[in-house]
């Protein structure tokens, strides 16, 4: 009973409470750069998911073997391996996608979410919880990327996953597919989430306040 709660908690941590994009604001570089379209965002998210889950699993399996003096070097080697694998896989699946993502696939190596998870979580937990946590984190990252990518694609090109939403006469907002657009949309989402969190807090505080009054 308790174990399932823990597992569930590990899983949801990254999706909501510690969302890497909207709460921890980590991994911004690839996020701002590749979220020009929803497809790019999803591919990037899935690539990160693969790397994060695999590297978390391997790091966690080897956690007792690795002396702490060389742990960062070990983690980086492991992460770089899986990034290379993802790099080949994306090339094999679609060259167009590979070119659209450019150097940012290789740059997953330095994505702080992955090293951060390896250091803070995977190196201290057994493989199964570590991987579940990694899956949750990556899903949170995918959600963040997709939130950015979809808005930027809708405004910047009038399409979603390449499907036209407004007809051929749509006026694209060029700024949205340029780098400033990424900052604007990210700022907008952060504003929205902090507004929501604050509103939730206020209603909760109001409810407990009423409760004490009645008691």
């Amino acid at each position: 009973m308790n174990a399932t709660v823990d597992i569930w908690d590990e899983f949801t941590e990254g999706i909501w409470r510690q969302n890497p994009v909207f709460v921890m604001v980590l991994g911004l570089c690839p996020m701002l750069a590749v979220t020009v379209s929803a497809v790019n965002a999803l591919t990037m998210g899935l690539a990160t998911l693969f790397v994060l889950v695999c590297s978390s699993g391997l790091v966690s399996m080897m956690r007792k073997l690795v002396p702490k003096e060389v742990r960062i070097a070990t983690y980086i080697v492991i992460i770089a391996t899986f990034v290379t694998v993802v790099d080949y896989i994306i090339q094999a699946v679609s060259l167009a996608l590979y070119e659209a993502l450019g150097a940012f696939i290789q740059l997953i190596v330095v994505n702080c979410i992955i090293l951060g998870r390896a250091e803070a979580h995977a190196s201290k937990n057994p493989p199964i919880p570590a991987m579940i946590n990694a899956v949750g984190m990556s899903i949170g990252f995918v959600i963040g990327l997709f939130a950015l990518g979809s808005v930027r694609e809708i405004l910047g090109a009038g399409t979603l996953f390449g499907v036209s939403l407004f007809g051929s006469n749509f006026q694209p907002w060029v700024i949205m597919v340029l780098p400033p657009g990424g900052f604007f949309v990210l700022g907008g989402w952060l504003l929205f989430f902090s507004w929501w969190a604050r509103r939730k807090q206020r209603t909760q505080a109001g409810r407990t306040g009423e409760g004490t009054q009645h008691a």
């Binding site: 080897m62 002396p67 003096e69 060389v70 070990t74 080697v77 060259l95 694209p172 060029v174």
Partner: protein, 255 residues
Amino acid sequence: MTSASPPTQGSIPVRPVTVVRATGPGGAQPPQKLPTAGMIRTLGLVSAICGVIIVAAYQSTYDAVAANKRIATERAVFKVIPAASSIAEYLALPSGEVALKVGAGETAASAGIRFFAAYDAHGQLAGVAAEGAAKGYADTVRIMFGYSPACQCVVGIGVVAMRETPGIGDKIITDREFLANFNALDVKLNAELSALANEVKAVKHGAKTQAWQIDAIAGATITSRAVGKAINDAAQALLPRLVPRLDALQQRSKS
């Protein structure tokens, strides 16, 4: 030095740290023993595992990646030479020779100019495609253009890579009026076959008078000019070598 006045007291706890730092990386000296053997063993193990994974991934995706690359090139060539159904990659060497490029080796690429001979369904030469590049508004614009030996003109262009402003510079892919320039853009050679008879050049929107001029897109003059320059530079370099040898390319070589 030893007289402990109030300001120096603050530095006392710092001193042992510096001592450790001085001897720490020196080797496996006291005060603590570094697990050198363990470190080497672990790193070796990790490297071995990672090496195996990478080799496996490379091997298993090699064919798919190569096929993808070939398809991408073919598609780019077919786009600029619609009649084509198969391609062969050649190098135009400085000596004037035209060599069939074999395998993925890049050895001869240093001096030769890469181009693709496109053949139609009957194995007859349908056209030649080559890449050109020039500085655009944001970054280098790389284009692929199709050359038709029959009319000695450029019959189509496609963009290989560019970072031009969306909505302005990238109209070079979509603007029908602009693309109409490349239905028959004149790139005839001069009598000595040493250079183009007329320089290919982008001119202001609405000012095209000659068959070798490109009518620029209004508002995207810089990108249009880059396309003109890319075609001109590439054609100036390639065509003088290629045209005398065209006969050798007429039939698809069985190799």
